[in-house]
Amino acid sequence: MVRLFLSGDGPQSRILGAILLLILFCLAFAPFLFPGTRSLETAARICIFIVLVASYDLLLGYAGIVSFAHTMFFGLGAYGVAITTQRMGTSYESLILGTMAGAGIAAVLALVIALFSLRVRAIFFAMITLAVASAVAVLVSQLSAITGGEDGMNIRIPRELTPAFRPFDEPVLGVRFSGRHLNYYLVFFTCLILFLGMLRIVNSPFGRVLQAIRENAFRAEAIGYRVIWYRVTATILSAVVAALAGSVFAVWLRYVGPATTLGVEIMLDILLIVVIGGMGTMYGAVVGTAIFVLAQNYLKDWMGGASDAVGFMPLLPDLLSPDRWLMWLGILFILSVYFFPTGIVGRLRGVT
């Protein structure tokens, strides 16, 4: 049964299995285990980022393609929901329609970019996605009539998903259950389904061919696989899942703006997580995201303390300041590409 859900691709390591179970358990019962708005916020963010990072892993780890437009697709999903609900009014239909519109546009855009750049030279893809993504980001902040510009847009979602909605009069397991919790479970289950779906894809014959192409595109082509077709399909799949994650994110946050969905920082976060967690493993996304989000929330506090502690020394406080968090991640990132190319998951599985 478990094997079926995991598409026969288990953790292959006891420690990894235990960590994954722990993460699943914490996320599944987050509203009861960690009451409080900030914790629930963190849990939802972890769910969504797991899917976002896993969809990036599908492209980077399995197809060996570097994209810098992943946040663009994420944003398309989020803006799809925001714009549709604004135009069509608040209803479940408009949420679904917006989600589908975002995913559809993401698919078409991914198709165009992929056909265009992968046909010529695979390395163009990284550069072209970077250029297109930044152009779209600029465009989104300029077309304020449609997108709300830099301010972004607030999204009105159905009342059943908001904190104002109280389905039960009595507390459930000691928690006063609200629409916010319902919304969380919407996030949780959507993300779980998307993740298991991707696990299925990478373990399907399609996924195997992708990996063969990653190892040696020339050989795969010689055996008779249409390399371009597989790469384009992988790009589209990855874009669609990213867009779906974006839609979920928008519904959860009830807000969408350039910084929360399209920002370069998010793109970098995704890259860092996937590399540190372990490229081409899917589970790397889970472990990486959990560690990353927790570290982001708590390590920064620690850095602030450390920075203050060495305040009397030159330069060191600046280096340790929580604002320099990204620098240390960058160093960690470079080191992991060199020394742990298989990431945490690879380490736990004993693959080097």
């Binding site: 980077l60 060996g64 570097v66 265009f116 046909r119 010529v120 030279r121 695979a122 390395i123 163009f124 990284a126 550069m127 072209i128 970077l130 250029a131 297109v132 930044s134 152009a135 600029v138 465009l139 300029q142 077309l143 370069v264 970098l268 890259l271 590399v275 330069l315 600046d318 280096l319 604002d323 320099r324 990204l326 620098m327 991640l329 960058g330 160093i331 990132f333 470079i334 590409v337 060199y338 190319p341």
Partner: protein
């Protein structure tokens, strides 16, 4: 290995019957050059005011020249060693910050109404910037790029990581705020020609870019080092087999390319009169477009591509400001449909 002798002295005199390539043969690869006048003409037709057109053309050329200075090193590094450096933008930012700091320190010279003192200050700032970014390039090649030769995927990831760290270092050293920098006294203001205002600095930038391009061409065509670079872009293995240590040449090119990016950073800083830690990354987007449409590895293609991008950016920004960046992507699409390997593709041996 004498690196600086020029071509004529390398071959003894002789009087062979020469067959020169026919005119059509020699013109064919240069067809992309015609795109520049064509684009300028399109600009003329779509911009109703001739004076605005002239102003925009000069500023487009100035911008193009600066992008060329930045992009040339990157394209050669790719051509020579198949190394794709996403961290190239870090050199631009560092160059700008070092150069601007130097200029701010020399405010007595930049503020004086003397051409000589102003240029001296700018020159000193440029040399400082180039020295720092050249040294950075050396370290970058050794520490970041060297271990990941041969793997594009790792190169992209690692150099991107390098860019992040470098950008953060700028925050550490100079703080997070943008820095405003006025141009030196005599470079302020503009000429008026045919009723069009041409900023002095932009005209200077065009001249500097042109000189650099011609100089680079002279080195690539007229010196043994240049020949080694051009041959290495085509067939690295053969160059080694002849007896040249291409790795050394590559480090030299990498350092030179980084120093040029630093120079470009200073030029850009004085063009925008403001610098931020992210500027390198922002410019890199245009640089990528230029390098792709020029043909990875080709300096001439890079030059033409840079001018096309600079002009397009300026014309479109005037006609429809929101479409400026999109227009360059459209330019890239059109050119890649015409020549999928870029305008001046480098013939690779393998």
């Amino acid at each position: 290995m004498t690196m600086t002798t020029t071509t004529p002295s390398l071959a003894p005199k002789h009087a062979p019957k020469l067959v020169r390539p026919s005119l059509a043969q020699r013109l064919e690869p240069w067809a992309p050059v015609l795109l520049i006048p064509a684009l300028i003409l399109v600009g003329w037709l779509s911009i109703s005011s001739p004076t605005s057109w002239l102003t925009l053309t000069v500023s487009g050329l100035a911008m193009g020249m600066m992008i060329f200075v930045i992009a040339s090193g990157m394209t050669l590094v790719f051509g020579l060693m198949d190394v794709i450096n996403f961290g190239h933008g870090a050199f631009v930012s560092f160059g700008a910050f070092v150069g601007v700091s130097a200029l701010l320190m020399m405010s007595a010279w930049t503020g004086a109404p003397s051409v000589a003192l102003n240029l001296l200050a700018v020159l000193a700032a440029i040399l400082a910037a180039m020295a720092v970014t050249g040294a950075m390039g050396f370290a970058f090649e050794r520490v970041i790029v060297r271990p990941v030769y041969g793997s594009h995927l790792k190169q992209i990831l690692v150099t991107m990581g390098g860019l992040i760290v470098a950008e953060q270092l700028i925050f550490v050293i100079w703080g997070g705020e943008e820095i405003f920098i006025g141009r030196p006294e005599t470079l302020k203001g503009s000429f008026v020609i045919f009723g069009a205002t041409l900023e002095k600095y932009r005209v200077l930038a065009v001249a500097v870019g042109l000189v650099l391009f011609l100089g680079m061409r002279a080195v690539l065509r007229g010196t043994r080092l240049g020949l080694i670079v051009r041959a290495g872009v085509e067939n690295r293995e053969m160059v080694q087999v002849l007896g040249y240590r291409i790795n050394r040449v590559f480090i030299m090119v990498f350092v030179a390319g980084s120093a040029l990016a630093g120079l470009g950073g200073v030029m850009w800083a004085l063009y925008q009169e403001m610098i931020t830690a992210h500027m390198g990354m922002e410019i890199m987007i245009l640089v990528f477009i230029v390098v792709i449409i020029g043909g990875l590895g080709s300096v001439e293609g890079c030059f033409i591509g840079a001018l096309l991008v600079g002009l397009t950016q300026n014309y479109v920004a005037f006609l429809e400001p929101k479409l400026a960046l999109i227009s360059n992507i459209a330019l890239m699409v059109v050119i890649l449909m015409w020549r999928p390997q870029g305008m001046m593709p480098v013939i690779k041996a393998k």
